[in-house]
Each structure stands twice: as C-alpha cells, then as structure tokens.
C-alpha cells in the first residue's frame, strides 16, 4: 500500500527540451564526444593564437617566422615536422594555419547564417512576391557551379576597398565563401517554415495578435534552428576545404602561413623529396575534417533523427 502511495506522491516526470534531449543522446555516443574533444582542441588553439598575438606572447605558433634550423631540415626531435625553405618550423606554421582556417570557416558560417536564415524565413512565411524574388536570387546563384562562384567572388573582391576598408587575404576569402554559401541554408529554412506556418502554435500566436516579426523570430525560427546547427556542422568541412583550395590558388592569405599555401609550397618541394610540409598540412586538415564529419553526423542523428542531409 505504501508503495502505491509513494507512486502517487512522486512528481510528474519533467519534460525535456529538444536541446536537452538531443545532447543527452549525443553524450551517449563515445566517438562523437571524442570528436567534439578534438574540435574543441582546434578551436582553443585558434583562440589561443589570437590571444597570444594580442598580448604579444613569444610562444611557438606566433614565432613561426623565426628560423628554427637549416633550410629543408628533415623531421627530427628538434623540429617534429622539419623545416621549410627558409628554415621556419613546419610545426609552428601548421599550428598557425589552424587560426586562419578556423577564422575563415567561422566567419563564412556566420555570414551565410545571417543572410540565409532571415531570407529563408521571410520567403517561407510571406510567400507571394517576396518569395519569388528570394527564390529567383538563390536559383540564380545555385545555377553557377559552387567552386566557380566562390572563385569569381574571391578574384573580384580581393584587394578591393569598400568604405575605406581594404579586403586583404582572408577577409576576401570568407566574404566570398559566405556570400555564396547561404543558398543551401536559405532553401532549407524556407521549406521548413512553409511546413510549420500552418501548425497550431503559429495559428495560436496569430490569434494572440503577435506581430509578424515576433512570429517569425520568436516562434518559427527557434523551432527550426536546430536544422541550421546540423547543416553548418556538416558544411564547416566544405568551408575548410574551400579555404585550402583558395589559398592554394593564391587567393588567400599571402603574408601569414596557411594550410593551402603550405600545400602550394609542397608542390615544388615534393620533387626534391621534401614531404614533411605536405604531410603536416594533410594531417592537420585530415583530423579536423574527420572530427567534423563524424560529429556532424552524430549531431544530426541526435537532434533530428528523421532528417537526412546529403
């Protein structure tokens, strides 16, 4: 009898939010958490280099320009990844390249979210003429091959001056990637908003007399925002690779080391048997992309098991 009384007295189970539920599921995946650890390391390293540069700390990555040994010294206990043509430590350059890659991918993601999400939501909610214009813009952009479009933007934006601000190196790169990559997220959000806008909670919000801005940004977007996070955890890899290709083609950062520029150097070095610069850049990119790929998939499965993004 006492048992049944206890059962009655216990409080009803607390509901968990989408996010809590998702992260609970995510935490159960060991591999995904390991990848999250790797990603955190990369991000911390990038942030740490920013700090070190700001306070002028004289530590490894910020001293990449110093000579660490002879020209083309092979890997040894002193320089784990050897040195390049100027005797600079390849390890330091690789670590520094993390900052460039992470910065570009983050800024490009932010730009494309800021453009794509509101446009998609507005197009999906209002439909009609606004929708047609927005769909026209993104159909136009998506009819040009992705890499060609990024290249065209990067070539034109490079070294241009806007409002007294010169777009050098990585600024042009992340602008080029960001301004071209919002199409995917815009299309996704538009489709979701169209699905959501006839549901009860939106109808209820309209009946309360909520303003349209409040409905879109206060009710609709929070309910589709997990898609944005999933999409970008997977798209981040593409941004990293795009940055590498742009730097390789000489459209990226010119004065400071980046992974793409290192691979470009390696193109000539390989014929002399100097493989370490190439190997260091490849390893750095490989582990970052691997962690992003696995973590992105796990995140998608945890937050939205029904969704499939190719």
């Amino acid at each position: 009898m006492s048992e049944s009384q206890q059962l009655i007295k216990t409080e009803p189970p607390k509901g968990t939010s989408l996010w809590k539920d998702g992260f609970r599921r995510l935490r159960r995946r060991r591999l995904a958490m390991l990848c999250l650890g790797v990603l955190t390391l990369y991000f911390l390293l990038a942030g740490f280099i920013y700090l070190a540069e700001f306070f002028d700390w004289r530590i490894g990555p910020t001293l990449w320009a110093e000579q660490a040994g002879q020209s083309y010294a092979p890997p040894s206990s002193k320089n784990i990844f050897g040195t390049d043509i100027f005797g600079q430590s390849v390890l330091r350059k690789t670590l520094y390249g993390t900052k460039i890659s992470i910065t570009v991918a983050l800024c490009a993601s932010l730009i494309s979210i800021v453009i794509g999400v509101p446009l998609g939501a507005v197009a999906g909610y209002f439909r009609g003429f606004v929708d047609e214009i927005i769909v026209w813009i993104y159909s136009t952009l998506s009819s040009v091959p992705y890499i060609l479009l990024i290249l065209a933007f990067a070539v034109v934006l490079r070294d241009k001056t806007f409002f007294g601000y010169k777009l050098t190196g990585i600024t042009a790169v992340y602008l080029a990637i960001g301004l071209t990559s919002w199409v995917g997220i815009c299309r996704l959000i538009r489709g979701e908003v169209i699905k959501h806008k006839d549901r009860e909670y939106i109808v209820a919000a309209i009946s309360y007399g909520c303003s349209r801005r409040r409905i879109i940004f206060g009710h609709l977007l929070p309910n589709v925002f997990h898609l944005v996070i999933i999409d970008f955890s997977l798209r981040f890899v593409a941004f990293i690779h795009a940055e590498v290709i742009l730097s390789f083609l000489g459209l990226g950062e010119a004065e400071r080391p980046s992974w793409g520029a290192m691979i470009n150097d390696a193109r000539i070095e390989l014929s002399r048997g100097v493989w370490w610069q190439m190997a260091a850049a490849t390893v750095a990119i490989f582990f970052l992309s691997l962690a992003l790929n696995i973590f992105g998939d796990a995140l998608r499965d945890s937050l939205d098991p029904k969704l499939r993004i190719q």
């Binding site: 026209w136 813009i137 159909s139 136009t140 952009l141 009819s143 040009v144 091959p145 890499i147 060609l148 479009l149 290249l151 065209a152 933007f153 070539v155 034109v156 934006l157 241009k160 890899v237 690779h241 590498v244 290709i245 390789f248 083609l249 000489g250 459209l251 793409g260 691979i263 390696a266 193109r267 390989l270 014929s271 493989w275 190439m278 850049a281 490849t282 990119i285 490989f286 582990f287 992309s289 691997l290 790929n293 696995i294 499939r308 190719q310």
Partner: protein, 312 residues
Amino acid sequence: MTAYIIRRILYTVPIVFGVLLLTFVLFTLVGGDISIEIAGKGATQETIDEIREEYGLNKPLFLSWDSQFVNHFKNALTFNFGRARDREPVIDKIKRGVGPSLALTVPMFFGVVIISVSLSLIIAFVHGTVWDILVVVICVAGMSIPYLSFILFGQYFLAYRWGLFPVFFSPELTMAQYVALPVLIGIAAGIGGNLRFFRTVMLDEMRSDYVRTAFAKGLTVRRVLFKHVLKNAMIPIITRVVLAIPFLFLGSLLLERFFGIPGLGYLMVEAINSRDYFVISAMTYISAILFVVFNLITDICYSLVDPRISLE
C-alpha cells in the same frame, strides 16, 4: 503537356537574366575599371584610353542603348566574350579546352558512379557486418583527406617515384596516356562521398515493404537486389548523374593544374592568376547556361515519364 514544357522553358528566362546580372555586377560594378591593370605599369594615358575604348569601358554604365549594361547582355547572348589578355578571343580558348576537359572528367565521373553503385549493392548485401562498418570508416576517412593531398601524393608516388605514368602533359602523348593518372586519382578521391550517398540510397530501399514481400515470396538475395532494389534505386542515382553532367564540361580545376592538361580548368587557373575578368565571366556564364539547359531537359524527361509532375 505542351503547356508544361512551354512554361518550364519560360521559367529559365529569369534565371539566365539573373546570371547575366550577377556577372555584370560582379565583374563590371565591383570589379571596376581594369584598363590600367591590362596596360601594365608605366603605360601612357593614351594606351590606357585605347584599351578603354576597345573594351567599351569608357561608355556609360546604364541608361543608354550603348551602355556597358546593354552591351554585356548583347555580347553574352551572342556568345561574344571579347578577347583574353593574350589577344585570343575568349570563345576560341573555351572551345579548345572542352575536349581535354571532357576526356578527363567523363571517364572519371562514370568510373566513380559505376564503382560506387556496385559497391553499395554489395554493402546492402552485407549490411550490419564488420565489412559494412569498415567500408563506412574508409569512406569517411577518404572524405576527410583534402583533394589536394590525393593529387599531390598520387602524382608524386605513382608518376614521379615509381614512373608508372607520365608526370606532366606533353603534346606527343596520346590522350589515354596523359589522362590515365588524373582519372585514377579523381576516382580515388571521389569514391568516399559517393559511396556513402549510394549506400544510404540502397539501405533506404532495403527497408521498403516491397523488399520484405520479395524476400517473403522466397526470392534469392541476388534476385531481390538486382531485380527489385537496383531498379527502384535508379531514380536518385539517375538524378544525381544527370545533374552532374553540366559540371563535367568545366573540367577539374586542380587536376588540370597539377598535370598541365590544357582544359577549361587550366584556363580558369590561368585567368585567376592574371585576373582576366573576361575569361572568368565567360566561364561563369557558360557553365550556368549548361546547368540551366540540363535541368530543363531533366525536368521535361521526368514529365514525359511521370504524368503526375506538373509545374505549380
């Protein structure tokens, strides 16, 4: 039916207009006056003026029948893209590059598709075993290696070190000789992502009711896979193949650059290095047109096959 096709064709007009507007904004408004750059350092004002005259950069931007805006549209619609930096007409350069580019991309693309579709069928066969997991791991690892590393290490080991293939393009080589290694590398690099995509498609099909029915009837695994699953999985496969075809014309930027193959990718890299806006603009426009046309053909073919499809 006819009404659908006509509407679908009319629908491409705003897209083509949009692409032309995009190239105009990008290369004329944002790109700006490049006559000083073309003339080079220390050029006299006369030379610069001559170049402006030739490229029509001295004309008004808008608001005239002879403005740069109108001329941009006229030239693009008649496929007259002016001359590149080395005085050769851009359209001739592009025509010359299509052959080598297609020789590279067509075998590469179909190699990737055929290999990954057959492998994905085998995976559907052994789904859930160690082999399946192993293949997924290899795919994800392959997707994470940068494309550039595939090319550089492939070129270094297979061609330079072991001498199995020629390292660079040279005119006396036959097409098969100089294309073999890039194709091989392209297949190796492309298989990871594609195999993963096709595996998802196949496994989705395997869960369908008709597959359960087929097994329940007592059909053999091979018969179910090839007679039933493959046929139904063909729809996403064909969509992917057809939509990829226009991109084949573009060639491969990086592969052509590394192996010195004189295709469109190489042309593009050269244009980037010399900031030749005319070539880049023409390439952007032509590839967009190809994409629009192939999309149109695909949609019309679908509507012929499937009478349920109609335009909103």
